[in-house]
């Protein structure tokens, strides 16, 4: 069997798709089965978690971003009401079906009421999975925010130490921060390539690569990305007459990959997005000081990317969104939020006004993990594209 590094680009994308569509998490089962691997797997619910600390503890940090379209929600509906987002129900379903067996621990953070309560539901339902809950600062403008979050991260570090039964050194955390800085840098290069040459790699392909990063060692994924760039340079492509689009609202629950493909088919070059934002949480490297935990807290408070679930001090959400519209030279915005995702849907009200002020047309729709027909949506997007390309004043 070919291993990831040996694969050609198209094979790799097909492999990523297979992983995404298999809810039994085969890469994690394979990781657990590796000879001599006793490393625990520490999962987190989106959007963000301090994966560097889990990595420094010798664990494999992964993101469990729902069950997608391939898992029937059966058991979970008996525990969670139907008017919450798909990702919370399908993530619970994965656990109830035993698909999360390779996971030793799960981290939840304070992104919304649903995620907060899901942490409690996990604790009650899965005694074999150690559950951690992290209170991220809601008011990062407060002078106490860094001190507060450093304290919270230290609490998490101690909990991880208890979990693995060993200490986690500052040096190990600093090394792990370096590993994640490298990975974020490679992902940033991937997004730069898409922004500058959207015909070289589609948003669907880039998304599949991004999703795969969260189910494998980050060092391996960085190497894969770096080797991919050389291949993409040589890829024969044809630039079509499409509009440049920014996608906003898909930072937590992920749209089906077919939905992304439908938007691209309909005539969009998706030049930027907020798909699975956690692995791209900082747009600059985390600057290491003497205390790596404090450095991580400072990074979170000072230069996390703006999003609906991280509130702002000196980087107001609206200003940053306006900057994104300009920097990406977009012709249109598609607000693509998960059904029942309150953070994304509340932000829509703010952000659509910013798009209006910038004179950028926008389209909005809601998705669910299990939507299976994309024809109507594609027609909507095509109409949007035509209105911009052919009839805009």
């Amino acid at each position: 069997m070919k291993t990831q590094p040996d694969m050609k680009f198209e094979e790799r994308i097909a492999w990523c798709k297979e992983q995404l569509e298999d809810p039994t998490l085969p890469t994690l089962r394979e990781f657990k089965g590796r000879n001599g691997t006793r490393a625990p797997i520490v999962g987190n619910f989106p959007v963000w978690a301090p994966q560097e600390i889990a990595h420094a503890a010798g664990a494999l940090p992964v993101t469990i971003a729902g069950g997608g379209s391939s898992v029937e929600i059966d058991h979970a509906d008996s525990r969670v009401q139907s008017f919450v987002c798909s990702i919370s129900r399908s993530t619970l379903e994965l656990g109830l079906r035993g698909y999360l067996d390779p996971i030793d621990a799960m981290v939840f953070t304070s992104i919304c009421d649903v995620a907060r309560n899901l942490g409690g539901v996990f604790k009650r339902n899965f005694p074999k999975i150690q559950t951690f809950y992290l209170h991220c600062p809601q008011n990062v403008a407060s002078p106490a925010a860094v001190d507060y979050f450093a304290t919270e991260l230290r609490r998490f570090r101690r909990a991880m130490e208890d979990f693995i039964g060993d200490g986690i050194t500052d040096a190990a955390i600093a090394r792990s921060v370096g590993v994640f800085n490298e990975h974020r840098s490679a992902l940033a290069d991937l997004y730069t390539l898409r922004r500058e040459h959207p015909e070289k790699i589609s948003a669907t392909e880039s998304y599949l690569l991004l999703r795969a990063s969260q189910l494998m060692p980050r060092e391996e994924h960085t190497a894969i990305l770096r080797s991919t760039f050389a291949e993409l340079e040589a890829r024969p492509t044809r630039r079509r007459d499409k509009i440049r689009v920014l996608i906003e609202g898909s930072f937590c629950e992920q749209p089906p990959w077919e939905l992304i493909e439908s938007m691209e088919d309909a005539g969009c070059y998706i030049v930027d997005d907020d798909f699975l934002l956690g692995p791209r949480w900082y747009d600059t490297p985390v600057k290491l000081g003497e205390d790596p935990i404090r450095s991580m807290a400072e990074a979170y408070v000072r230069y996390s990317v703006t999003s609906s679930i991280r509130h702002y001090g000196d980087r107001p959400r609206a200003d940053h969104f306006a900057h994104k519209l300009k920097a990406n030279q977009v012709d249109g915005v598609i607000f693509c939020a998960a059904k029942f995702c309150e953070p994304a849907l509340y932000d829509y009200v703010l952000l659509k006004d910013i798009a209006d002020q910038a004179g950028i047309p926008h389209l909005s729709f809601e998705f669910e993990e299990k939507m299976g027909v994309f024809e109507t949506l594609r027609t909507q997007v095509e109409t949007f594209v035509e209105s911009i390309l052919l009839f805009a004043d």
Binding site: R238, D241, K242, G267, E382, T383, E386, L389, L390
Partner: protein
């Protein structure tokens, strides 16, 4: 001189036209679509280029429409059928405010603004009912050539509408009418009325304002045009290029886009 191709990959036939930079159609071609949609598009465009007397490599822009538009690898842009048929109809009959496109697989009604832009549209939502394929099934059941059904329909004296909206069930209903001794022309005309009633329902949903222009392959069927005019109690526009209207719309929208891009670059 810049030349633009518009290609309409329909379920039955693929049509291509070539437009010069003034919007004049200088070449056209039509081929059977078959299974290779991209191949049909290439063949139609190549033939349209020959018909226009230009080299294939001279094309500055290719706009694709029709249900197979995504299979046209050499396209610069794909455009929905609604937009293309509306714009094509507007270019030939500038006072058009409603367009009925009756193709092999789908029927659509579009309300059109004064500049040719689609204001509202509706499509048939039940399999091939209300579309050309329905008439094919009827013709086949009656052992009549498709190109004869229009002329036969005009001879009808006692048309009997078909009640089923499903093309397959309609075939059974036609056989029942044959066993009851109904005349072939009356059955065909009745089938036309059945389709017409459904299409007019679509038209009403988009406003149904005048002028009404008919596009798509079914426009070749004069029996169909007559039943439509009877039911509407008014004349509809049917141009000699009605079947090519999607491809014409695509080519002219391609030209419009090319002019915008050139103006932005200048």
């Amino acid at each position: 001189m810049k030349v633009i191709a518009g290609v309409d990959v329909g379920s039955q036939t693929t049509k291509a036209v070539i437009s010069d930079e003034t919007g004049k159609i200088i070449g056209r071609a039509q081929v059977a679509t078959k299974i290779d949609l991209g191949g049909a598009a290439e063949k139609a465009v190549a033939e349209a280029c020959r018909n226009a007397g230009i080299e294939r490599s001279a094309l500055a822009y290719v706009a694709a429409t029709g249900y197979g538009r995504f299979q046209v690898e050499f396209r610069d842009l794909q455009i929905t059928e609604m937009t293309c048929h509306a714009y094509g109809a507007h270019s030939v009959f500038p006072k058009t405010r409603s367009v009925l496109d009756i193709g092999a697989q789908n029927s659509r009604a579009m309300g059109v603004e004064a500049n040719g832009r689609v204001r509202k549209f509706r499509m048939n939502d039940k399999c091939a009912a209300g579309a050309g394929r329905f008439m094919e099934r009827v013709a086949k059941a009656l052992e009549v050539e498709l190109d004869q059904i229009g002329a036969l329909s005009l001879k009808a004296t006692d048309p009997t509408p078909i009640s089923s909206i499903c093309a397959v069930l309609a075939e059974s209903e036609v056989i029942n009418q044959v066993t009851e001794g109904k005349k072939v022309e009356d059955i065909i005309c009745g089938a036309h009325y059945s389709i017409t009633d459904r299409i007019i329902a679509l038209l009403r949903q988009v406003g149904g304002e005048e002028e009404i222009t008919l596009t798509g392959g079914v426009t070749k069927n004069m029996g169909m045009v007559k039943t439509l005019e009877d039911r509407l109690a008014k004349k509809v526009n049917v141009g000699p290029d009605a079947e090519f209207m999607g491809a014409i719309g695509a080519a002219l929208l391609g030209l419009r886009r090319l002019q915008r891009v050139s103006a932005a670059a200048a």
